[in-house]
């Protein structure tokens, strides 16, 4: 019987920089250094999650998709007991993760965004001690550690100190460690960041394999292809709110028409957008600025001719055309007006 996840009206406001941001800031401490006195006293308030509710059924591979700073890591942080919610509740299985931390921790494995491996240990020791923390006896943890090393192709690094490993190897070891105690729910925060394409494919296979055992897997990513390829269900998150949720197919088909043509003109005469809107297959025209437009349509290439003709008839010239096929990237753009990479 798998373990599901439930999030009810979750919100999080940081009154100090969140840990990831704090680390990157280094010695200078942001706004508190400059500005007048009043501003100095003002507390930093970052609203990372804003009344988020979500249900992740047991046994699914679920993706949280969004740009940097959208609230993905905060969601994972709360679900893994590492972050205290400001409001709302989160459950792993039947356990409220804030009130029943130990029970929740027993069910979960976590791969953090940045490897947080124990630098004082060797590769194999990281796995052995992790097994010991979760109550595995000596024989069991030795067997499982060797299995994990083999599976993640780390056997030849077993005796090496963790601090000597490269970034990609550390990432692999983090994932091996998270699976070491065979958790019912696996959280992966940006698992393929910093991995080479080959390792990424290996990771996808491992995640799929783990999912096929009936485990629940929650991963965050800002790679569309990863979400599309791997996840059975997705939530798109931006500015601390969930803006769309469904299977990748459902989400993609929710984009009007499916295709997106990003157009740029030298100038836009008054009724040009009206004319484009009237073309066969066009569902929606959004003008990004005075000389650019995003056209959502049920076809891509075949529309170029009519658009160019319409522009010429109106006395304008098409400067740039970009066609995007139905994808989650287009979906994100449709909901937020911003590209995922922006």
């Amino acid at each position: 019987m798998g373990i599901g996840i439930r999030i009810e009206h979750l919100s999080k406001v940081y009154d100090s920089p969140p840990p990831s941001a704090a680390g990157a800031r280094g010695f200078s401490f942001g706004p508190s250094r400059s500005g007048d006195r009043k501003e100095k006293k003002k507390k930093i308030e970052i609203k990372a999650l804003d009344d988020v509710s979500l249900e992740i059924p047991a046994g699914q591979i679920f993706g949280l998709l969004g740009p940097n700073g959208a609230g993905k890591s905060t969601t994972i942080g709360i679900l893994t007991t590492r972050t205290e919610p400001t409001g709302g509740r989160a459950f792993v299985g039947e356990f409220d993760v804030w009130k029943h931390q130990v029970e929740a921790k027993r069910l979960i494995g976590v791969v953090p965004q940045r490897p947080n491996l124990d630098f004082s240990l060797t590769t194999r020791e990281v796995l052995l001690f992790h097994g010991a923390y979760f109550g595995q006896n000596a024989r069991e943890r030795a067997r499982r550690a060797d299995e994990q090393l083999e599976k993640f192709k780390l056997t030849d690094r077993a005796a090496q100190m963790v601090r000597e490993l490269s970034g990609g190897l550390m990432q692999r070891l983090s994932i091996a460690r998270a699976m070491m105690h065979d958790p019912e729910v696996l959280f992966l925060d940006e698992p393929s960041a910093g991995l080479d394409p080959q390792t990424r494919l290996m990771l996808w296979d491992i995640i799929r394999g783990y999912g096929s055992l009936g485990k629940t897997i929650v991963l965050t990513t800002h790679y569309m292809d990863e979400a599309d390829e791997l996840c059975q269900r997705l939530a798109i998150i931006d500015h601390g709110k969930i803006i769309a949720e469904g299977t990748p197919l459902e989400l993609k088909s929710s984009i009007p028409g499916g295709y997106l043509l990003r157009l740029r003109f030298d100038r836009v005469p008054e009724d040009l957008f009206e004319q484009i809107r009237a073309l066969a297959g066009v569902r929606e025209v959004k003008s990004a600025d005075s000389i650019a437009a995003d056209v959502y349509a049920d076809r891509g290439g075949p529309l170029i001719g009519p658009i160019v003709t319409a522009a010429q008839a109106a006395g304008a010239e098409v400067r740039d055309v970009h066609i995007q096929e139905p994808s989650l990237e287009t979906l994100f753009l449709h909901h937020t007006g911003r590209s995922l990479r922006e």
Partner: protein, 256 residues
């Protein structure tokens, strides 16, 4: 309470400490031992210092060695592990309450402080040569003070380690540790501060005073020292305070 996990956490710290044992001992004990040699041996045999200074110095050296070792053992790794790498997180995700991880850190630090104390006693004694009139007539008082001092060091280390950022480590040494040692009655009995009345009472805020004076009372009772029951009571109060403060700060620091 999950004993299996607690024991695993403790054995992890033991494993890391054993791996770095020689380095850690040199780091913590070289300075006090050199001090012992210069003041306890060179200056006393040269006649600048009275021989009975050796008896005053030995308990003080044991006290600071334990205090420094305990603080270093807990505070330094914590400061590093709470930094950018967040190394501590793998243990915060172990199935045990975060407060117990703090308790585990305190116990691991105590053990390391006691080891430092056990190593420094014979070595300092030998370094000084003959003349330190140490009495082992009160073994239980001595053992009791060792435990109280070790707990003081590691719980203090926990509180410090959770309050100080990596950029402030240098400041921690010059602003906190050095004055605590110089005004900790390590190199002189508390009664010697009598001419400096204000200072004599101000240093009573410094728990290292009770560590040095308590060990003095247990090892060299013939020398001046604050009454044993007073030092024991003061150490117990300081221990309870630092344990409570350390665990509170750790739990706060552990979550964002």
């Amino acid at each position: 309470m999950n004993w299996k996990t607690f024991y695993a956490l403790l054995s992890r710290d033991g494993h890391v400490a054993r791996r770095n044992l020689v380095m850690v001992l040199v780091q913590n004990l070289l300075q006090p031992l050199l001090f012992t040699f210069v003041f306890g041996r060179v200056l006393t045999s040269g006649g600048f210092m009275a021989v009975k200074f050796k008896s005053v110095l030995l308990p003080g050296i044991i006290a600071i060695s334990m205090v420094v070792a305990g603080i270093q053992a807990v505070a330094m790794p914590l400061i590093a592990e709470f930094q950018f790498s967040r190394e501590i997180e793998d243990r915060l995700l172990a199935p045990i309450q975060n407060g117990w991880l703090a308790v585990e850190k305190i116990i691991a630090g105590m053990i390391q402080a006691l080891v430092a104390g056990l190593v420094v006693i014979p070595v300092a004694w030998l370094t000084m040569g003959s003349g330190a009139a140490v009495s082992f007539a009160h073994p239980f008082a001595f053992a009791g003070f060792c435990l109280l001092v070790a707990l003081l060091a590691s719980a203090g280390g926990l509180a410090l380690g959770c309050s100080v950022g990596a950029t402030q480590i240098g400041l921690m040494f010059s602003l906190i540790l050095t004055p605590m040692l110089m005004f900790g009655c390590v190199y002189y009995p508390w009664s010697f501060l009598k001419p400096f009345t204000g200072l004599q009472y101000a240093v009573l805020l410094n728990p290292v005073v009770y560590a040095s004076e308590g060990l003095r009372g247990a090892l060299v009772p013939q020398m001046d020292h604050i009454a044993t029951w007073k030092t024991a009571a003061a150490l117990a109060v300081a221990d309870v305070g630092f344990v409570a403060l350390g665990i509170k700060k750790f739990r706060k620091k552990a979550v964002s």
